[in-house]
């Protein structure tokens, strides 16, 4: 740039005098001696400003290089981070599969449940809002505060659930005032619902949040907070019921709200599990057990399918589906009647006289007795220096009569002749001492005095124990399920795996995502057909004229067997059973098969500390059988109870 001197009249202090002379285009009038100095000064200023200009250019180049580096050189990296910022993949829970009974009656389904939650970000005065909520929900505010504190980790823009299973009427009231309380939201959550209430609670089990241990064991696709089956059928068939979660790919803004849903992979709903249960019969059985402790099993003798499995007392499985409070859980856990226990298979007791089925089979198959063998019953006998009693003086009895009258003397003799090993061998062939393998968790296998069991006990065994064993006492423990299973085996000549699963169906909304092939095991029993016929005659006799008469039906011939398992030791049996404290009273057992010519069902009834099998358990069995066959109980209560109550011959115990 061409550089001239500063305007002479402008140089230095500008006086007012110079004003009027100022004009834009006036050329300098003169270049005096100072003009050179002014010109050099001007050149100096221009030179310095030129440095500034170059500096500005350099700095802007540096900035541009900075942008080049970020936008062009590392652009891909930052683009990926922008996408990670704005895209969020969230899981869409799959609807849990249904559980149906054999007639497709719904046992477990999902129901919309209202949850009330707060979004802290949208709330000004949290304390005030909690007070409002407490008043609306009729819950103490302190409880709400505690629940909020427990879930502190949830981001402030996410809802924190403070109450679930909220009454729809409260929801309506909350919704009416939602404008004034923008931070309070109502969400609809699918919740496990059991339309029949407590019916089959022990079979169905429960659902709950996946535990940390399950999470590590199962891995994908489970996530914290998922609802999975924890007990019963819900737990055993969780893989079928749980379905496959879907994914939602959404554009979110900086506070995490979904702006647009970009893509959604729909979840696969869980499959439908159809059980062999008959809900109607199940309800009936539970009604009969109401107020007692015990269990009832009804087994389809031809398939091994469980028609009924009742355990009393029971619990409400819906409690688990809701948010369970610690107090409620503790109360259930510490209840002395143990309502969570499935007494059908998780509790074992001495089988009592039901075991005579095993004894009879063993005697016949081992050739110790035949159909005509008779023993004399004088009302008890002495073995190894101890007297073992029988309830009646049955005189000469054969096997069929011995079963029908439940004659102890006959079986004492037989037991001593057979010996422990052979008794145990047949007990094991009937499945005692091991789990039946039913599709439910925590089954108890029970005890038989096998060699291994003896070894574990230190090898001590008294010959007198065999005498007790012969009538189902002593070192013997079986579950009600095993009793029913044994009855079915005896009645049909086949060992069939007891099971609850009938089939797995694809849910209405989708294809099954994995196949399921269920074939319950079946094999012929190891005893002969003539043995089976004799056993059935004995069981029929017990119903017709023996200890099980209270289970007689109109029009259907039933075979049955009662049992009374002693709880108290011999010294204390002196008292009448009914006079004892409850925890020392005998357990009542009853099994039955029907119809006798071609057994279709097998049942087992167990009443804990109920008293005698004939008086307590067999009437329950009778009513169940009557309900199943659509007929009536034929037995009429006779007004001379003293005889009928005690001639039942149930006090097999050592006198």
């Amino acid at each position: 740039m061409r550089v001239g001197p500063w305007r002479p009249d402008d140089d230095g202090r500008v006086g007012r005098a110079g004003r009027q002379a100022r004009s834009v285009h006036r050329a300098p009038k003169q270049l005096g001696p100072r003009a050179l100095e002014r010109a050099s000064d001007r050149r100096r200023v221009v030179a310095r400003v030129r440095v500034l200009e170059w500096s500005a250019a350099a700095v802007i180049m540096v900035l541009l290089l900075g942008f080049w580096q970020i936008q062009i050189v590392r652009g891909g990296e930052w683009t990926a981070r922008a996408e990670a910022n704005q895209h969020r993949t969230s899981r869409v829970r799959a609807a849990r599969g249904l559980i149906l009974d054999r007639n497709h009656e719904i046992l477990a389904t999902n129901q919309a449940s209202y949850e009330v939650a707060v979004i802290r970000e949208a709330i000004g005065d949290l304390e005030q809002e909690l007070r409002y909520l407490a008043a609306m929900l009729e819950i103490p505010a302190s409880l709400l505060e505690r629940r909020l504190a427990e879930q502190r980790g949830i981001p402030r823009f996410r809802p924190v659930v403070l109450a679930s299973g909220v009454d729809p009427r409260i929801v309506v009231r909350l919704q009416a005032r939602r404008r004034e309380h923008p931070g309070i939201v109502v969400q609809i959550e699918p919740r496990r619902h059991y339309p029949l209430g407590t019916t089959a609670a022990h079979v169905l089990g429960s659902v709950g949040e996946v535990s940390p241990r399950q999470l590590t064991a199962w891995g994908d696709p489970y996530r914290m907070g998922d609802i999975v089956g924890q007990q019963g059928v819900e737990g055993v068939y969780n893989d079928e019921l749980v379905g496959l979660p879907g994914e939602r790919y959404a554009l979110v803004n900086s506070v995490g709200r979904e702006v647009t849903i970009l893509r959604e992979n729909a979840p696969h709903p869980g499959e439908t599990v159809v059980l062999t249960l008959d809900a109607q019969l199940q309800r009936m059985a539970e009604g009969l057990l109401a107020g007692r402790r015990g269990a009832v099993i009804v087994l389809n003798a031809r398939t091994g399918g469980i028609l009924t499995m009742a355990s009393a007392p029971t619990f409400d499985p819906a409690l688990f589906a809701a948010r369970f409070s610690q107090e409620e859980w503790d109360a259930l856990q510490s209840d002395p009647t143990k309502p969570l226990q499935n007494r059908a298979l998780q509790v074992v007791h001495a089988p009592g006289s039901i075991f005579k089925i095993v004894m009879a089979t063993a005697g016949l198959e081992e050739g110790v007795i035949d159909r005509n063998t008779t023993y004399f019953c004088p009302g008890g006998r002495t073995f190894y220096g101890r007297f073992f009693g029988c309830l009646g003086n049955h005189g000469n009895v054969n096997l069929v009569q011995a079963i029908a009258y439940s004659c102890n003397s006959f079986f004492y003799e037989l037991g001593v002749k057979l010996g422990r090993e052979r008794i145990v061998k047949w007990a094991e062939r009937f499945g005692l001492g091991t789990e039946t393998g039913i599709d439910l968790p925590n089954e108890q296998g029970g005890i038989v005095p096998s060699d291994e069991w003896l070894a574990s006990r230190g090898g001590r065994y008294y010959p007198g124990e065999t005498v007790s064993l012969a009538i189902g006492q002593g070192p013997l423990a079986v579950s009600p399920l095993q009793q029913a299973h044994m009855a079915a085996t005896a009645a049909t000549g086949f060992v069939r795996q007891p099971h609850l699963l009938l089939e797995v169906e694809a849910s209405a909304a989708g294809q099954p995502y994995r196949g399921f092939d269920y074939e319950p095991a079946i094999r012929p029993a190891t005893f002969s057909e003539s043995t089976r016929q004799l056993l059935l005659r004995g069981l029929a006799g017990s119903i017709a004229y023996g200890t099980s008469r209270r289970a007689q039906l109109d029009g259907v011939t039933v075979g049955g067997k009662t049992g009374t398992a002693q709880v108290a030791s011999s010294e204390r049996v002196a008292e009448e059973n009914a006079d004892r404290p409850e925890h020392l009273r005998n357990h009542a057992w009853f099994i039955a098969v029907a119809p006798i010519d071609d057994p279709e069902i097998a049942i087992a009834v167990f009443v804990e500390h109920g008293g005698s099998g004939g008086a307590v358990a067999s009437p329950i069995g009778g009513q169940l059988l009557a309900a199943y066959f659509g007929t009536e109980v034929a037995y009429r209560e006779i007004t001379t109870p003293a005889v009928t109550e005690t001639t039942a011959g149930e006090n097999e115990g050592q006198r």
Binding site: V45, V49, L52, E53, G75
Partner: protein, 363 residues
Amino acid sequence: MSPIDRRFLSVFDYGTLLVLACLLVIGVVLVASASQGQNLDLAQRQGVWVAAGLALAVVVGLLDYRNLTDNAYLIWGALVVLLVGVLLFGPRISGARSWIRIGGVGLQPSELAKIAVILALARLFSDREPRPFGIRDMLMPGTLVAIPALLIALQPDMGTAATFLPVLAVMAWAAGLKLGTFAWLGGSAIVAAPLWYMTLLDYQKARLISFLRPEDDPLGAGYQLVQSKIAVGSGGLAGKGLFSGTQSQLNFLPEQENDFIMALLAEELGFVGVLIVLTLYFALISRLLRGAYIARNRAGAFLCAGVAGLMMFHLVINVGMVIGLVPITGIPLPLLSYGGSSALATCLAVGLVVSVRSRRFVV
């Protein structure tokens, strides 16, 4: 006032005003994009400010800057009084007293103070003997800068107070401060930096540290910078398209209409957009500086250098902060960022240079 005749109109500096207008219009468009993401309506208000700013630049350009340099000390004094008034009577808005209402119009005296200081320094440097000078001669200019800077620092508004120092440096350099003294002062500033760091408040320290290592705490202090770099980087060469930046429209980028409007530009218009805007800025700064070449007198030349220095400083600090080259300070980008006070003050300053350039020396 000098008469506006045809000959004046033929030398009037339309070029600088055109570049100014370009940047201002781009600013309105970017503010519109930023306000869409936040569901705000800032663009219309910004449009009004911009129109007023342009008009102000034209009017000031038509006026003779010498009226202002003549009365520079008076103006400086008035602004100091105003700054004291703000400190005493100004309302406290988000922790700082920086606003004052005069006749129903909100005003930030600190913005005007920058111009008053430039005027006063131009006057002071032009009054002295035109010879290189040393540290001793920096006492008066230093005082002229220190008083308003301290008053602004008390508001507290450290960012604005800090802009006075580079303005002083640029003007002293243009006026002939010896190279040795310049280097010596620069060296002492580097030595003093750690001492100054210790006087910072915690949040200021956090900002500084997050600039050095933003990934240490991407959700806390470093969040702003990380989000800004994501916005800039993901813009790539051509950008995601106006009104389509994900970082800005989904609101991941805080302060996007204000201090971080450059990141929005980089995201939506890419490197190409950045190149265009920075070229425009360079054109503007270059024209401001070249005003010194053609200025009629020393005061005009120093005035141009001062305004250019102010603009340059704002540009470097703001744009540098967006890409993580300098720490995050609350300094807006002149002409592009949303805000009336900043736009008007910048237009006023540019208008002064237009006035200088329009009265250029003609041989």
